[in-house]
C-alpha cells in the first residue's frame, strides 16, 4: 500500500508525467482514495500553472536604453568579421 509520503515523493514526476505506468497507476489509485493528497495534487498543479502562465513584464525603459548603449559600444569596439 502506498502511503501519503510515498505519494509526495513522486508528486513532481507524477505531474511531469515521467513515471513508469505501473507506479503512475498506483499513485492514481492512492490519490482517488485520499482527499488530502488529492488537494495537494490539485493545488500543486495549479501552483505550477500560475507560474508558467506568467508573461515577463516589460523592462524599464532606462534599463533597456543602458543595455543597448553598452551593446553598441561593444559592437563598435569589436566588430564581427563579415
Amino acid at each position: 500500500m502506498l502511503t501519503c509520503k510515498d505519494f509526495l515523493k513522486e508528486l513532481s514526476d507524477f505531474l511531469d508525467d515521467t513515471l513508469d505506468p505501473n507506479i503512475r497507476a498506483a499513485l492514481n489509485k492512492h490519490v482517488n482514495e485520499c482527499p488530502n493528497c488529492w488537494v495537494i495534487l490539485d493545488t500543486t498543479q495549479r501552483t505550477i500553472k500560475v507560474y508558467k502562465g506568467l508573461e515577463p513584464q516589460t523592462i524599464p525603459q532606462d534599463i533597456h536604453s543602458r543595455l543597448m548603449t553598452a551593446l553598441q559600444k561593444k559592437m563598435a569596439a569589436s566588430p564581427k568579421q563579415h
Binding site: L8, L11, N36, K52
Partner: protein, 208 residues
C-alpha cells in the same frame, strides 16, 4: 516601455543568429529584444537585487555577443543564453553572500521535510481576485522566500520552462538533484500560495 516581443519560436531563429554572428547589428538587437525581458526576470529572481539584475542583463548579452561564434545551434539560442545568464547571476549571488556560506549540500532525502501543513482547497479562480500587479507581487514574494538552491531550479524549470536535463547542465548538478529540489520548491510554493488562494470558510481539509 519596450514593446512586446515577436514570436520566440526557435525554428525561425537560426538565420537570425547566423546574421548576428556575421556582424549584423540589427539581427543581434532583434535577439536582444526577444529575450531581454526574460533574462532580466531570471536575473532578478536569482539575485533578488535590481542593481545586480541589471548588471547580469548587460553582462549576459555582452558575453553572448562576444562568444556568438561558439554557439553552434545544437541547442536553442535561448537555452544557450540562459546558461550564460545563470552563470552571471550565480556569481553575483555568491559575491553578495560571501559573508554567509551558501550551502549546496543536498538535504537528507528521507522525505520528512515534505510534510505538508497547509492543506486546503483553493478558490475556483483565485487569480481573478487580484489585479495583475497584486498577483505578480504574491507570486514573486513566494519565489523569493525559497532558498537559493530551490529557487534557481524552480525558476529554470517552471518559469523559464527548461527541461530537467538542461536545468541540470546549466546548474552543474545531477538530474536527481534537480528533481529533488524542484519537488521541494513546488511544495513550498504550494503552501505559500494556499495561504492566499484557499477557499474561505472551507477549512475542513486542514484538520483531517
Amino acid at each position: 516601455m519596450v514593446s512586446g516581443t515577436p514570436s520566440t519560436e526557435a525554428n525561425d531563429e537560426l538565420p537570425l543568429v547566423e546574421r548576428a554572428r556575421t556582424g549584423d547589428a540589427a539581427a543581434f538587437s532583434e535577439l536582444v529584444q526577444r529575450y531581454e525581458r526574460k533574462i532580466y526576470r531570471l536575473a532578478k529572481h536569482i539575485t533578488q537585487n535590481d542593481e545586480d539584475a541589471e548588471d547580469v542583463l548587460q553582462e549576459s548579452f555582452l558575453k553572448a555577443y562576444t562568444h556568438l561564434d561558439s554557439f553552434h545551434g545544437d541547442s536553442k539560442f535561448y537555452t544557450w543564453l540562459v546558461r550564460i545568464a545563470v552563470n552571471e547571476a550565480l556569481m553575483k549571488l555568491r559575491k553578495r553572500k560571501s559573508d554567509r556560506t551558501v550551502s549546496l549540500d543536498e538535504p537528507q532525502d528521507t522525505g520528512e521535510d515534505l510534510v505538508q501543513r497547509e492543506i486546503a482547497v483553493w478558490e475556483d479562480d483565485p487569480e481573478k481576485k487580484y489585479s495583475r500587479e497584486e498577483l505578480a507581487e504574491i507570486l514573486d514574494t513566494a519565489v523569493q522566500s525559497l532558498k537559493p538552491s530551490f529557487r534557481t531550479v524552480f525558476v529554470l524549470r517552471d518559469i523559464e520552462e527548461l527541461s530537467t536535463e538542461d536545468t541540470a547542465e546549466t546548474l552543474g548538478i545531477s538530474i536527481p538533484a534537480v528533481k529533488s529540489r524542484l519537488l521541494r520548491a513546488r511544495l513550498q510554493l504550494r503552501e505559500k500560495l494556499t495561504r492566499h488562494f484557499r477557499r474561505k470558510g472551507d477549512d475542513v481539509f486542514a484538520y483531517m
